[in-house]
């Protein structure tokens, strides 16, 4: 058990070490890719093996790290429970498929940069797996930051593009802002309870022995998830992260970076459950994020950015479910969304690969040119829109049911509206890019098998989870009877809007935009949030820089300058004592000796 889990965690790390420490292998490119893919493949096999064996109880294995007088202060180890195992499988599966896919997608890269890419990929997989297996907040924080670092490295993979470099820094800074809260929250929690360990904390929570007044602490910890999982108002980094290679976007959006926040909230849920105000906040912010991002997705023309906003929106869904005290619904949606969002991104990558542009206005009739890619994209879109019997339908319904049951009326309404918008903007992409009447330039063709196979695997899994859900009934949430009908109707309405507007062209998009004038205007400008964030960032950073610059220039440098000026002047004065005449020195010695003599007589 433990050794298998260690294998899951250790293989990508070994691959990373090997690639990082053996430059000839890394610069070989394809060789590095093989090492990395083999490692993550082995990791996937071990994770599957672990997952298939039923788990009786949570297994926790710890090794002492920082010793203290009464028991270790911090330990490292493994925390294996069903949620963690499912997450392990999701992470290794998506990472494996993404790495295989990248083999073909990044064939144009030079061997050294391909090797660099796979080195980062291995580290990324290791970081995320370590986060999933963390048995305490400290280990989680360490891997949490590693995940952030890897995102930075991979988003900025094409670092010679200014936009990519900027996006990487933006992602790093924005998530770091949330992490400040996370670190502070962890330390406050430690001060209140005296432990970082999940087992101890959960036991205390179950026995209602948690100290009172944890709301601020849990809010700060939640801030970490706000940054990582792109919740309002820190969602601004995610769309910009599209500057990275498409497989990286798939990985970040499906299984790693953004999933970390939701996973942390699900993992630490017993603690959040002890602070109802924070839970309420999580639900409201989640629902608001979902709606806000959905409206922005409706006006984007970059296929990857549409998907990015849809990720933000779906993360809002997950957070809303967690806030409605249904972490299992949140986690279910995390898994299904991870699969079909990876599918959508990889399919979008195949489209971009074929057409050579991200702009959906320059695409058209691609379904006939790329039948395979079109089919899997359609499967992903249907799942994301929540159409029966695909996986998205069940997880989305679980989320909606949880929010309804928690009596969160307004968030429920926002999420329902989001469901409609989701179907609308996704089918807008489908109709514009894959159908319609515009002929794209060039001769687009389906992706090579190395890229197509991961797509099909993800598509089959998306369908399979859905069919399994349809056969076995819903996942435990007691949903109101009218909910499936309503959510299907909402999805159908969204599809209908897209169909009427973009396929049949009964209503022109421009007219629709005019009808929703102010909303359209605001959404196109991203509600000014990016500008506001940039202004705040500039204000803070430049203000602080100016202040520090002033202190450095006038106080620190000033002190040094004054000291050196005094030294110079004093030296110049003292220089004149040095007359060069031996007699003066003798005189000095005699007077000095005399003074010493007198002094010795006075202070005897």
């Amino acid at each position: 058990m433990t050794s298998l889990a260690l294998a899951v965690l250790g293989l990508p790390f070994l691959a990373f070490l090997l690639l990082a420490l053996a430059p000839p292998l890394r610069r070989h490119g394809r060789g590095a890719a093989l090492v990395s893919i083999a490692a993550i493949g082995g990791s996937l096999a071990a994770a599957l093996r672990l997952w298939l064996v039923p788990l009786e109880a949570t297994v926790v294995r710890r090794w002492e790290w920082i010793p203290a007088e009464d028991g270790p202060l911090v330990s490292v180890g493994l925390y294996i429970d069903p949620v963690g195992l499912a997450m392990l499988v999701l992470v290794t599966l998506v990472a494996f498929l993404v790495q295989v896919y990248s083999w073909a997608y990044l064939e144009g890269e030079t061997p050294p940069s391909l090797g660099r890419y796979y080195t980062y990929q291995s580290l990324f997989a290791f970081s995320m797996l370590g986060l999933v297996l963390a048995p305490n907040f400290v280990q989680m924080l360490i891997f949490w930051e590693l995940v952030g670092l890897c995102s930075y490295l991979l988003i900025g993979f094409w670092y010679d593009r200014p936009a990519a470099a900027r996006a990487a820094v933006k992602a790093f800074w924005t998530t770091r802002l949330g992490d400040v809260g996370f670190v502070t929250g962890i330390v406050l929690l430690w001060r209140a309870t005296g432990t970082f360990d999940f087992t101890a904390l959960f036991a205390a929570a179950a026995a209602h022995r948690l100290p009172a007044g944890l709301s601020l602490t849990m809010f700060l910890i939640y801030l970490g998830a706000v940054g990582k999982s792109a919740q309002f108002p820190l969602h601004i980094w995610l769309p910009d992260a599209m500057e990275g290679p498409t497989p990286v976007s798939a990985l970040i959006h499906a299984a790693t970076m953004v999933a970390a926040g939701v996973f942390m909230v699900t993992r630490a849920f017993p603690l959040f459950a002890a602070t109802p105000p924070v839970l309420g906040l999580i639900a409201w912010v989640g629902a608001f994020t979902a709606l806000l991002a959905a409206t922005m997705a409706c006006v984007e023309t970059d296929i990857k950015r549409v998907l990015a906003y849809s990720t933000v929106s779906q993360l809002g869904y997950m957070m809303a479910a967690a806030g409605a005290a249904a972490p299992q619904a949140a986690f279910f949606h995390l898994v299904t969304h991870g699969l079909f969002k990876a599918l959508l991104f990889l399919a979008a990558g195949a489209v971009i690969h074929a057409v050579g542009t991200n702009d959906i206005r320059e695409m058209g009739r691609l379904f006939y040119a790329l039948p395979q890619t079109g089919t899997v994209f359609l499967v992903g879109t249907l799942a994301l829109s929540g159409i029966w019997p695909l996986s998205g339908f069940f997880s989305k319904e679980a989320v909606l049911a949880a929010v309804w049951n928690a009596r969160l009326g307004v968030p429920f309404a926002m999420l329902a509206l989001t469901a409609l918008l989701t179907a609308a903007y996704m089918f807008r992409v489908v109709f514009l890019a894959f159908f319609g009447d515009r002929q794209p330039g060039g001769h687009p063709h389906d992706a090579p098998a190395v890229m197509a196979v991961p797509l099909w695997i993800l598509a089959i899994l998306t369908v399979a989870i859905g069919v399994r859900g349809a056969l076995t009934g819903e996942g435990g949430q007691s949903a109101p009877r009218w909910l499936p009908a309503v959510s299907l109707a909402l999805a159908a309405a969204g599809i209908g809007v897209a169909l009427v507007t973009y396929q049949l062209r009964l209503v022109s998009p421009a007219a629709l935009a005019r009808a929703l004038g102010p909303l359209d205007f605001m959404a196109r400008r991203r509600y000014g949030l990016d500008a506001a964030a940039a202004a705040v960032y500039r204000g803070l950073v430049f203000g602080l820089s100016r202040l520090i610059g002033w202190v450095d220039r006038y106080l620190v440098d000033g002190l040094v300058n004054v000291l050196s000026a005094w030294t110079l002047r004093a030296g110049d004065r003292l220089r004149r004592i040095q007359t060069g005449r031996a007699q003066d020195y003798v005189y000095g010695i005699a007077v000095g000796f005399l003074l010493l003599l007198i002094a010795s007589q006075i202070w005897r």
Partner: protein
């Protein structure tokens, strides 16, 4: 005449020698001053040797005289060497150590 008078004499000779060393312009004069200071020391040695009825002080005085002769020989040689180069033995002009 007790020990006190010898010591006072030695102090006076030493002070005169020091005054000469610090004020004379001529390098030869400075050497003379040094000679006076050394002899003040000799007076002390001899006086204390008599006072303590010990011969060590007298032996020391003999050593000092011998070393003084050598020192004067070297000192005068240096003065002559300086004179050859600088064409002067005026101490005020020998300020190569000036900072």
């Amino acid at each position: 005449m007790g020990l006190r008078m010898y010591v006072l004499l030695a102090a006076a000779v030493f002070a005169i020698g020091l005054f000469g060393v610090t004020t004379r312009r001529n390098a030869v004069g400075i050497l003379l001053g040094i000679e006076l200071m050394l002899n003040a020391v000799n007076i002390n040695f001899v006086a204390f040797a008599r006072y303590n009825a010990s011969v060590a002080g007298m032996v020391f005085a003999l050593f000092t005289i011998a070393i003084t002769v050598a020192e004067i020989a070297v000192g005068l040689a240096i003065v002559i060497a300086i004179f050859r180069v600088r064409k002067t033995v005026d101490a005020d002009h020998l300020d190569l150590l000036k900072g």
